[in-house]
C-alpha cells in the first residue's frame, strides 16, 4: 500500500515538474517567437530590424559592466560586515515594462488585460537588508524582506469569469480575494508569519485580508507549486487562502495603482479610471511577486513584480446598440505617452479571428504584427509601441478604435472548464457537485482538483464519488485533511484523469452545522460562501490538435507532434458556493438561558426535595383563634386545647 502511494506521489511530482518545465519552455518559446515574428513579419520596417543588433550589443555591454561589481561584492562578502550593505550599490538594476492586451470576445464583449512588470536584480533570499528602492515599490519590498517571502500572489476579483462565453483568461483568478504565499525555508513559525503578513497586506491593499485566519487557510500538497525558481517545494512553507465574500472596489484599486513607478500619471496606467473599470462585467487585479533567473545560467536571481489588471467590458449595454469601441469609450481617456520609466510599453490587439479585416476594422492601422502561442493557441496580435513617437501620430494621442462589421464567428470552445453547485434541500445535509468538462475530441488528460471547504460544512469523504461517462473514475491520488471545528477547513485534493470528450462529476455530501450565535455573520440568512474549487491541468494544446497545419510550415518540421507545444498548464476556478446554515433565534439568548436553567433547576429541585426531606404525617395547622386561645391558656397555666 505504502509503496503504491509512494509511486503515485512520485508520479504526481513528475507531472508537475514537467508542467513547469513546459510552461517555462513555452514562455521562452513565446518570447523567441515574438521577436522572431516581429522580425520576419515586418521586413518593411527596416529601421527597426536594424536596431536589433545594437540593442543586443548594448545589453551585452551592461552584462560585462555588471559582472565586475558583483565579483567585487562577492570578494567583500567573504566576511559579512554589516556596513557593507550600506555601500552604494550601483549594480542594483531594475527594469519596468508595461503592456495592454485587448481581445475582442465572441460574445461582443471586450477583454482588456494590463500587465506591469518590474524586475529588480536583487537577492532577497540571502537575507541582506536593502534600503535603496528605485522602481520597485518600497512598501512591498519591505514586506517581502521582513516576512521572508519567496513568492506572493494576491488577487482581487469582482465578478465571475465566464469561460464558456469568453474563453480562457490570461491570468485566472477566483471571485473575491485570493492570497497564496511561499515562505522561505528559513521561516520557523510559518503560521505566525502568515498571520502577520495577511494583516500587513490588508493595510497595504485596503482589503479585509485580516479575516484570513486558520479557519480559511490551507496548505495544498500538490496544487500551487512555486511559479518562480525554487529549490524546495515543501508544502509546509505554502499558505493558501481565499475570501470569496470580498468585494473589490476603488479603495483596492488606488493602493494598487500607487505601486506602479509612474503611478497613474503616465503610461498605460492613465487608463485606469475607477468609474469606468468598475462599470464592467468582470474586474480582477492582482500582484504576483516571484524570484526569476537573471540569465540563462541562473547564477543570480532577481525579483519580479507583476501587477495585472483584467477587465471585461460589456459593450452591448453601454454602447447603445452600436458595435464599436475605442480606448476613449472604454476608459474615457486616450494615451499620449508611455511611462518614461518603462523600457517597453506596448498595446497588443488580438486580431487572430480577423486576418482580412472581415469582422472588424482597426484604426489607426498598425504595421506591426506579432504571433505568440497563448494558452495552447497560436494568436496574432497587432502591436502599438508607445515608446515610438510615430504611434501617436500628428494628434499626439492614441485612441485605438475597433468597428465591428459582422458578429458571427465561432469561438473555439475551451478544452477544459468546470462548474459547481450545491444539491439537496433543507438545512440539514447537502451535496456539492463539481462538473469538469474535457472538450478535447480524442485526448484525455489529468487534472488536479483542490477543494477547500469551511469546517461548518462537515464533509463526509466516504460519500465522495467521481464518475465520468456513467462509470466510476477512481482518482489516482487523494489528499484529504479533515476539518477541525473552529480551527481549520477541509482540504481535498485529488488527481483525476478526464476521458476525452466527457463530463466528470465529483460529488461529496456534507452536513450543515449549527453555530454559536456569535459566529454568524450579520446577515446570517444570506448564507455562507465557500471558496472556488481550483482545477490545475496540463491541457493538450490546440496547436497540437490541428494536424493539417502543414501548409504554413515546411513538411520536415512537423511529422511528430512537437513536445513543447503538446500541452500547457492551465488553472480553472469554479464558482464560489453560497450555502445556507440553520440559524438559532438571535433575539432570545436570555430566554434560552433562563428556560434551560429552569429545567435543570426542576431536575435538581425535585431530586433535592426527595433527598433531603423525609415523610411525616401532616398535622393540620390549628386555626388562629385556637392558637391565640392556647397562648392565653398557657399564660393562665391551663393545659392547651
Amino acid at each position: 500500500m505504502a509503496a503504491h502511494r509512494c509511486s503515485r506521489c512520485s508520479w504526481l511530482l513528475l507531472v508537475f515538474i514537467f508542467s513547469f518545465y513546459v510552461s517555462a519552455k513555452s514562455e521562452e518559446a513565446t518570447q523567441a517567437n515574438d521577436e522572431h515574428a516581429s522580425v520576419v513579419d515586418n521586413p518593411q520596417t527596416a529601421a527597426e530590424t536594424g536596431k536589433q543588433p545594437s540593442e543586443e550589443r548594448l545589453w551585452e555591454a551592461t552584462q560585462v559592466n555588471e559582472a565586475v561589481p558583483i565579483d567585487a561584492a562577492a570578494h567583500k562578502q567573504d566576511f559579512p560586515v554589516p556596513g557593507s550593505v550600506l555601500t552604494p550599490t550601483p549594480q542594483l538594476k531594475d527594469d519596468f515594462k508595461e503592456e495592454l492586451v485587448i481581445r475582442p470576445l465572441q460574445s461582443g464583449d471586450i477583454y482588456a488585460s494590463f500587465q506591469f512588470r518590474t524586475v529588480w536584480e536583487t537577492d532577497f533570499t540571502t537575507g541582506s537588508k536593502v534600503s535603496h528602492y528605485r522602481l520597485f515599490p518600497k512598501s512591498l519590498g519591505q514586506v517581502i524582506s521582513k516576512f521572508s517571502v519567496r513568492e506572493l500572489h494576491i488577487s482581487f476579483t469582482q465578478g465571475y469569469w465566464r469561460t464558456m462565453q469568453w474563453g480562457q483568461p490570461y491570468l485566472p483568478s477566483p471571485p473575491g480575494a485570493e492570497l497564496w504565499v511561499w515562505f522561505q525555508d528559513t521561516v520557523t513559525d510559518v503560521d505566525a508569519t502568515w498571520k502577520e503578513l495577511t494583516n500587513v497586506l490588508s493595510g497595504i491593499f485596503c482589503a479585509s485580508l485580516n479575516f484570513i485566519d486558520s479557519t480559511n487557510t490551507v496548505q495544498p500538497s500538490a496544487s500551487f507549486k512555486p511559479l518562480g525558481i525554487a529549490n524546495g517545494t515543501d508544502h509546509r512553507f505554502l499558505r493558501y487562502a481565499t475570501l470569496p465574500r470580498e468585494i473589490v472596489c476603488t479603495e483596492n484599486l488606488t493602493p494598487w495603482k500607487k505601486l506602479l513607478p509612474c503611478g497613474s500619471k503616465a503610461g498605460l496606467a492613465v487608463l485606469l479610471k475607477s468609474e469606468k473599470l468598475f462599470h464592467s462585467s468582470f474586474h480582477s487585479q492582482a500582484v504576483h511577486i516571484r524570484p526569476v533567473c537573471q540569465d540563462w545560467q541562473c547564477k543570480s536571481t532577481s525579483l519580479e513584480l507583476r501587477q495585472t489588471l483584467n477587465v471585461v467590458f460589456d459593450l452591448h449595454t453601454s454602447g447603445q446598440g452600436k458595435q464599436e469601441w475605442s480606448l476613449f469609450k472604454m476608459f474615457s481617456r486616450t494615451l499620449t505617452e508611455a511611462c518614461p520609466l518603462a523600457s517597453s510599453s506596448k498595446i497588443y490587439i488580438d486580431v487572430t479571428d480577423n486576418p482580412q479585416e472581415e469582422q472588424f476594422e482597426l484604426s489607426p492601422a498598425t504595421p506591426l504584427l506579432s504571433q505568440a502561442v497563448v494558452l495552447g493557441d497560436r494568436r496574432t496580435f497587432s502591436v502599438y509601441d508607445l515608446t515610438q513617437q510615430v504611434t501617436f501620430g500628428t494628434v499626439r494621442s492614441l485612441n485605438v478604435l475597433i468597428r465591428w462589421k459582422s458578429t458571427q464567428g465561432d469561438m473555439l470552445r475551451p478544452l477544459l472548464h468546470a462548474e459547481r453547485y450545491v444539491a439537496g434541500y433543507g438545512l440539514q445535509t447537502g451535496e456539492i457537485h463539481t462538473l469538469m468538462y474535457n472538450n478535447h475530441p480524442f485526448r484525455s488528460f489529468p487534472v488536479l482538483l483542490l477543494d477547500s471547504v469551511p469546517w461548518y460544512l462537515r464533509l463526509y469523504v466516504h460519500t465522495l464519488t467521481v464518475t465520468s461517462k456513467g462509470k466510476d473514475n477512481k482518482p489516482s491520488y487523494i489528499h484529504y485533511q479533515p476539518s477541525k471545528d473552529r480551527i481549520r477547513p477541509h482540504l481535498l485534493e485529488m488527481l483525476v484523469q478526464l476521458p476525452p470528450h466527457s463530463v466528470t462529476e465529483v460529488t461529496v455530501q456534507f452536513e450543515r452545522a449549527l453555530l454559536k450565535w456569535t459566529e454568524y455573520t450579520p446577515d446570517p440568512n444570506h448564507g455562507f460562501y465557500v471558496g472556488s474549487s481550483v482545477i490545475n491541468a496540463l491541457v493538450p494544446s490546440t496547436v497540437a490538435m490541428h494536424t493539417n497545419i502543414t501548409q504554413e510550415q515546411p513538411l520536415f518540421s512537423n511529422f511528430f507532434p512537437c513536445k513543447e507545444e503538446s500541452s500547457y498548464f492551465m488553472r480553472v476556478y469554479t464558482e464560489p458556493l453560497l450555502v445556507n446554515l440553520p440559524t438559532p433565534d438571535f433575539s432570545m439568548p436570555y430566554n434560552v438561558i433562563c428556560l434551560t436553567c429552569t429545567v435543570v433547576a426542576v431536575g435538581y429541585g425535585s431530586l433535592y426535595n426527595l433527598l433531603t426531606r423525609s415523610f411525616q404525617i401532616e398535622e393540620p395547622n390549628p386555626g388562629l383563634a385556637k392558637r391565640i386561645a392556647n397562648v392565653i391558656r398557657k399564660m393562665r397555666g391551663v393545659p392547651p386545647l
Binding site: 466516504h462 479533515p482 454559536k516 440553520p582 433565534d585 425535585s606 404525617i617
Partner: protein, 435 residues
C-alpha cells in the same frame, strides 16, 4: 418463559430486519433524535474511510467514537446490521436474566422479613406475590426490545445500542455478584462515554450487600472491598486505554472523544439540554455554565448513594436516568435503556402521582420532534425555538417521571416501616407529606 423470550427475540429481530430492508432506514439514520455526533453510523463509516485514506480518524472533527469501536467495525463493517441486532438481543437477554435474579433476591428478602415479622400488619397489600413478579423479566425484555426508541436506534445503527449492551451486561454481572466482570463491563461503558463512571457506586454497594460486607466507612472490610473494586475497575480502564493507544499509536483520541463529550463543541440539535443553551450562550459565561452542566450529571451520585444505600438496583436505575437526561449528547437510545427498567418497579404504581400526564407528554413530544424539525429545517415556516421548546418539554417530562418513581419508591419504603394506613394522634386518617 424461555419460549416466550425466544418468541420475543424473533419478533424483535424480524421488525428490525424488515426496517433495514425498507426505505425508512436511511431517513431514520439521519434523525438527530436517534443519532448524536458521537454515535452516528455515518461518522463511524467516515472514520473507517479516513483510516483507509491513511489519515488519522481523530485528526478531524467528524469521528468521535473510541478506537475500539473503529477496530471492531474494521472487521464487522459488512455485518453491521447483524451486530446491532445482536447487541440489542444481548442487552435484552442480559436485562431479562438480571431482573430475574434480582426478583428472586427481592422475594427472598421479603420472605425473611415476613418470617421475622418486620412488616406492619396493614402492609400485606404491599407485599409482592410470586405470580405478579413472574412476568416482570419478560416485560423488561419486551420494554427494551419492542420500545420504538430502541428499534429506531438499532435501525439507525447508532453505536448507542452497543453502549446499552455493555451497560446491560454490567447490570447482569453485578447482580450475579461477579466482581471482576462487573468492573470490566463498567470500565468498557466508561471508556465508551465517561458518564457511566457514576455507576461505580451502586455496583460497589450491591456487591458489598451480596458479600455481606456492612456498608460502614468505619469498618476495614468496607474499605478493603472499595480498594479491591476500584483496583479492578481502574486497572482494566488503564489496560483498555493503553490498548487503544497501541491500536492507533497516538493519544489523539483522548481529546477527540472525551474532550468532545465534556466541552460540547458540536451544537447539532438533539433531545438534550446542551445544544441550544450553548448556541445561545454569552461567550464569557460559556466555561462557567459548561462546568455547571457537566458537574450536574455527576453531582447526584453521592446524595443518592446515601439515601438509597440499601437499594442499589434502584440507585442504578436512577443513575442511568440522570445520565441519559443530563448528558451532553443524549439520544433516544439512552432513554430506552432506563425505560426498560420501569416494569421492575411496577409495584410502585399505586404511589405514582402524575404518571398519566408524564406518559402523555412523552408520547406527544416523541411525535412532535419530527414535525417541528421538518417545519424548521425543511419547510422554513418555524424556527429553532419550536424544536427547542419540545426538547425542554421532553426533558421536563423525563425529570418528572424519574422523580415520581423516586418519590414512590421512598414512600413505599416508608409505608413498609410505619404501616400503610397511618393514623393521626386523634385517630383520624393522616396524610403523608415530605418535610
Amino acid at each position: 418463559m424461555a419460549a416466550s423470550l425466544t418468541l420475543l427475540v424473533i419478533v424483535a429481530v424480524t421488525i428490525r430486519a424488515a426496517l433495514y430492508r425498507s426505505s425508512l432506514a436511511e431517513p431514520i439514520a439521519e434523525r438527530v433524535e436517534v443519532v448524536s455526533p458521537i454515535t452516528a453510523w455515518k461518522r463511524v463509516i467516515e472514520g473507517l474511510a479516513l483510516l483507509d485514506l491513511g489519515v488519522s480518524p481523530y485528526s478531524g472533527d467528524v469521528f468521535h467514537e473510541t478506537p475500539l469501536i473503529i477496530y471492531l467495525f474494521h472487521f464487522l463493517v459488512d455485518y453491521a446490521e447483524i451486530t446491532f441486532m445482536l447487541a440489542d438481543v444481548i442487552a435484552a437477554v442480559a436485562l431479562y436474566m438480571a431482573v430475574k435474579d434480582f426478583n428472586k433476591q427481592v422475594f427472598r428478602k421479603q420472605k425473611f422479613a415476613l418470617e421475622a415479622n418486620r412488616y406492619p400488619a396493614d402492609c400485606l397489600e404491599l407485599i409482592r406475590s410470586p405470580t405478579e413478579m413472574h412476568y416482570i423479566p419478560l416485560k423488561v425484555a419486551m420494554f427494551y426490545l419492542l420500545n420504538p426508541f430502541t428499534i429506531l436506534s438499532c435501525v439507525a445503527k447508532s453505536t448507542c445500542g452497543l453502549n446499552n449492551a455493555v451497560l446491560a451486561l454490567f447490570v447482569l454481572t453485578t447482580i450475579k455478584g461477579n466482581v471482576l466482570l462487573s468492573a470490566i463491563f463498567l470500565c468498557l461503558a466508561t471508556y465508551q462515554s465517561i458518564y457511566p463512571l457514576t455507576l461505580c457506586a451502586p455496583a460497589m454497594l450491591y456487591l458489598m450487600q451480596h458479600q455481606y460486607i456492612p456498608v460502614n466507612p468505619r469498618r476495614a472490610s468496607f474499605w478493603w472491598f472499595v480498594v479491591q473494586y476500584l483496583f479492578m475497575y481502574l486497572g482494566s480502564l488503564f489496560v483498555i486505554v493503553c490498548l487503544s493507544f497501541f491500536l492507533l499509536g497516538s493519544w489523539d483520541y483522548l481529546p477527540s472523544v472525551y474532550g468532545f463529550i465534556l466541552s460540547v463543541p458540536d451544537l447539532t440539535p438533539n433531545i438534550g439540554l446542551f445544544w441550544y443553551f450553548f448556541a445561545e450562550m454569552f461567550e464569557h459565561f460559556r466555561l462557567f455554565f459548561l462546568c455547571v452542566f457537566q458537574i450536574n450529571v455527576f453531582f447526584y451520585t453521592i446524595p443518592l448513594c446515601i439515601k438509597l444505600k440499601d437499594h442499589p438496583v434502584f440507585l442504578m436505575f436512577m443513575q442511568l436516568a440522570v445520565i441519559s437526561i443530563f448528558k451532553s449528547y443524549p439520544t433516544v437510545g439512552d432513554t430506552a435503556l432506563y425505560l426498560a427498567f420501569l416494569p421492575v418497579w411496577s409495584h410502585l404504581h399505586r404511589f405514582l402521582r402524575n404518571i398519566f400526564l408524564v406518559s402523555c407528554v412523552l408520547l406527544a413530544c416523541s411525535a412532535l420532534f419530527p414535525v417541528l424539525w421538518h417545519l424548521w429545517i425543511y419547510a422554513g415556516s418555524a424556527n429553532s425555538n419550536f424544536y427547542y421548546a419540545i426538547t425542554l418539554l421532553f426533558n421536563v417530562a423525563q425529570i418528572l417521571l424519574v422523580s415520581d418513581y423516586f418519590y414512590a419508591y421512598l414512600r413505599r419504603e416508608h409505608h413498609l416501616t410505619y404501616g400503610l394506613y397511618l393514623k393521626k394522634k386523634d385517630g383520624s386518617e393522616a396524610t403523608l407529606v415530605l418535610k
